[in-house]
């Protein structure tokens, strides 16, 4: 198991990359501009790609190099490009509809991280992994999950909901690189591909929204109730 016998250098490199991704999740949570949001997401994906490469190098999983390349190409370049195109076409830049101020959502995000840490700490103690990079990975995975849900809940712009979904999946991806680097390659590749299809479908839907509802704020989607 590579988690328990990592060299200090590898361990701190993994931690650095993971923590930097979490910080970028907070940048997304705090930003008011969709473009900043997108850039932070892009940087986060690159960091996760770098993490895959690092795990491949130190953990001796050559197939993870492929995952690293695919992560950077799909999530780091292709997805942001697709989303940027949608943003340009729709001319929505600033996040206009928010039910929670960015400052308040930062506080909520911090609470989510504390909760995630408590859960991860408990699990780490049970599994005799306390203090290892596994606890950190679990913490960050769970907190990115919670932050993603927070973004889905408090932001009403269609694009930011897509980004919220992507943050949810980024969290899982980041965690899985550290916790289960041996997870069959096929699954990781298909999940990456799957994500591309999700975003393509959402892009089509956004265009429908614009054409038929007249806005891309999901707050206007309130006809179907009860």
């Amino acid at each position: 198991m590579p988690i328990t016998n990592l060299t200090p250098l590898a361990s701190s490199l993994f931690s650095l990359l993971a923590i930097a991704s979490l910080v970028l999740a907070f940048v997304m949570l705090g930003s008011r501009w969709l473009r900043d949001y997108l850039r932070a997401f892009m940087a986060e994906s690159w960091l996760i790609g770098a993490l895959s490469a690092a795990v491949a190098y130190y953990g001796n999983y050559p197939e993870l190099y492929l995952v690293a390349v695919l992560t950077v190409v799909f999530r780091g370049l292709l997805l942001p490009y697709l989303l940027l195109r949608i943003i340009r076409r729709m001319q929505v830049d600033r996040e206009i509809h928010e039910s929670l101020q960015p400052s308040s959502s930062l506080v909520a995000g911090a609470l989510a991280v504390i909760f995630a840490f408590v859960v991860a700490h408990q699990l780490g103690n049970r599994l005799n992994l306390a203090g290892s990079v596994a606890v950190l990975a679990l913490t960050i995975m769970l907190s990115m999950k919670l932050i993603g849900f927070l973004m889905l809940a408090v932001r009403h712009e269609a694009i930011s909901q897509i980004l919220g979904l992507l943050v949810l999946e980024n969290g899982i991806f980041l965690g899985s690189q550290i916790l289960v680097p041996g997870m069959p390659l096929l699954i990781e590749i298909v999940i990456l591909f799957d994500l591309l299809v999700v975003v393509a479908s959402l892009g089509v839907l956004v265009r429908y929204l614009l054409a038929h509802v007249g806005s891309t704020s999901t707050r206007d989607l309130k006809r179907l109730v009860g």
Binding site: Q122, L127, G182, L205, H212
Partner: protein, 487 residues
């Protein structure tokens, strides 16, 4: 033999997709799709019997055929055939002739993803298959491109994708737990997970199980994760609603049943089943509340799906041979009956031009045959004898009485009665209240729409009067393979 049949089951819808996209003619596409659905059903019919010989795997263990998967395939194939016949009559009325070939390509694709999911042996690939069903069906829900359809499609894909990502997280944690025992790389099949479960830390397993339950529960439409369901079911075209309700929900329920059996193998105590039972009861409660005061006719059917998924959750949650048998029998009956209900709702909606229950009056005079069939279906779906759902619901109730969750049985019985009264009250208004706008004249309903309604009602009646011994034996085998444990 079984391998060839499975191959045909996958190949037929694929051929229909390609054919529809190549020819681009609505008429050709509808018959291609219909042919594919007939082929799929005939290929699926012998599968449950063949699967009894024991689970078999193909393609490096990626595909498995065990009895429960064969059963879900059969239910899916039945709904696919009924919905395909109905679609021929119904979709011609929509007035989207030029785009219709795309509808059939998507429709066959939707069937393909649902027929693929149940036989996936790798837990991760199963997740991908379930996610794929969402992607394809989103476009079917939004097919009519009205304001409401787009809204429903958007909510559907966002809520379900977010929910099901929890199932991915849970699956990954399961894999992690296993990797602490088996080493970093292994094949994550259902059988391997079950085998390794007793040796994994129970706290980690419990967390993973709950995540998976909430994740797939979103797709099944268990309350309180059901919020996408009424919108998607009511805004999609009627054949799509039937496929969503009668087939799609089952394929995700299969995942929950399999994870429950893994949790049993790990001896996690009563909590996993108690949570499933609680979700089932809560679904019944939510369904009861929304059915009583419902105004939309298709939303009424959608909440009835929430109700019946609650019953399925209770059946698998109670467990034991009776619980599993009741749940599986209920799955079949519900698939048939709910298709009938959506077909009837579609016919009524088209002939009255509204989804509003308040505006649908004097159904029997306007739609004599379709109306009578729909009414019989309504009596059946609320669990009245002599229809199949009565038997299966009683079996689930009976299964719960022997276990630790007797409170759930009492609440379930009460809520079923409330739903019976509330649901049929709407039908009383629709059938026997005087229409406000003068005399209504009978309307002819297309044969394409009537035939599937007959085909759906007849077996539900037969299954209510006669529970074949062969089916009972089949269900006990499934229960034994799922571990049969439980409360």
């Amino acid at each position: 033999m079984a391998g060839t049949l499975l191959f045909i089951v996958m190949l037929a819808p694929l051929a229909a997709i390609l054919g529809s996209l190549l020819v681009r003619r609505a008429r050709v596409a509808e018959y291609l799709n219909l042919t594919a659905s007939v082929v799929v059903l005939f290929a699926c019919l012998p599968l449950p019997a063949l699967s009894l010989a024991g689970p078999r795997t193909w393609w490096d263990d990626y595909i498995v055929l065990d009895p429960i998967a064969a059963w879900v395939l059969l239910c899916t194939a039945l709904v696919y055939l009924l919905a395909s016949i109905y679609a021929v009559g119904y979709m011609r009325l929509i007035g989207e002739e030029r785009r219709l070939y795309r509808f059939y390509a998507l429709f066959a694709g939707f069937a393909l993803t649902m027929l693929t999911g149940p036989v996936m042996n790798n837990v991760g690939v199963y997740w991908i298959a379930i996610e794929a069903t969402t992607l394809v069906s989103t476009f079917l829900v939004g097919f009519e491109r009205g304001r409401d359809s787009v809204e429903a499609a958007w909510k559907y894909i966002i809520v379900v994708s977010a929910g099901i990502s929890l199932a991915l997280l849970g699956t990954m944690l399961f894999y992690w737990g296993g990797s602490l025992v088996l080493g970093p790389t292994y094949d994550m099949t259902w059988a391997v997970l079950r085998e390794v479960a007793p040796r994994v830390d129970p706290g980690l397993l419990l967390l993973s199980f709950l995540l998976v339950l909430v994740g797939y529960g979103t797709k099944v439409g268990l309350a309180p994760m059901h919020t996408w369901l009424p919108d998607a079911h009511s805004e999609g075209p009627a054949p799509v609603s039937a496929m969503l309700s009668g087939a799609l929900l089952n394929t995700a329920m299969l995942g929950i049943a399999r994870f429950v059996s893994i949790a049993d193998a790990a001896h996690l105590g009563p909590l996993p089943r108690a949570v499933l039972v609680a979700l089932g009861v809560f679904s019944l409660l939510i369904a009861a509340l929304f059915i009583v005061r419902q105004e939309g006719v298709k939303r009424l059917m959608a909440y009835s799906s929430v109700e019946h998924m609650g019953v399925l959750a209770l059946g698998f949650g109670f467990g034991g041979p009776l619980g599993v048998a009741g749940a599986l029998y209920h799955m079949l009956n519900h698939s048939l009956n709910k298709s009938l209900m959506f077909f009837g709702a579609g016919v009524a909606m088209r002939s009255y031009g509204t989804k509003d229950i308040g505006a649908i009056r004097g159904v029997l005079r306007r739609l004599p045959t379709a109306g009578a069939l729909w009414l019989a279906g309504a009596v059946a779906i609320t669990g009245a004898p002599p229809f199949g759902l009565f038997l299966s619901e009683i079996t689930v109730l009976r299964a719960g009485l022997g276990g630790a969750n007797v409170w759930a049985v009492v609440v379930m019985a009460l809520l079923l009665i409330v739903i019976f009264i509330g649901f049929l009250n709407h039908f009383r208004h629709m059938y026997f209240d005087e229409p406000s706008g003068g005399e209504v004249s009978p309307l002819r309903t297309s044969k394409w729409c009537l035939i599937p309604m007959w085909l759906a009602l007849a077996p539900v009646l037969v299954f209510g009067l006669w529970w074949p011994q062969a089916l009972w034996n089949f269900f006990t085998t499934v229960a034994a393979q799922l571990g049969g444990g439980g409360s």
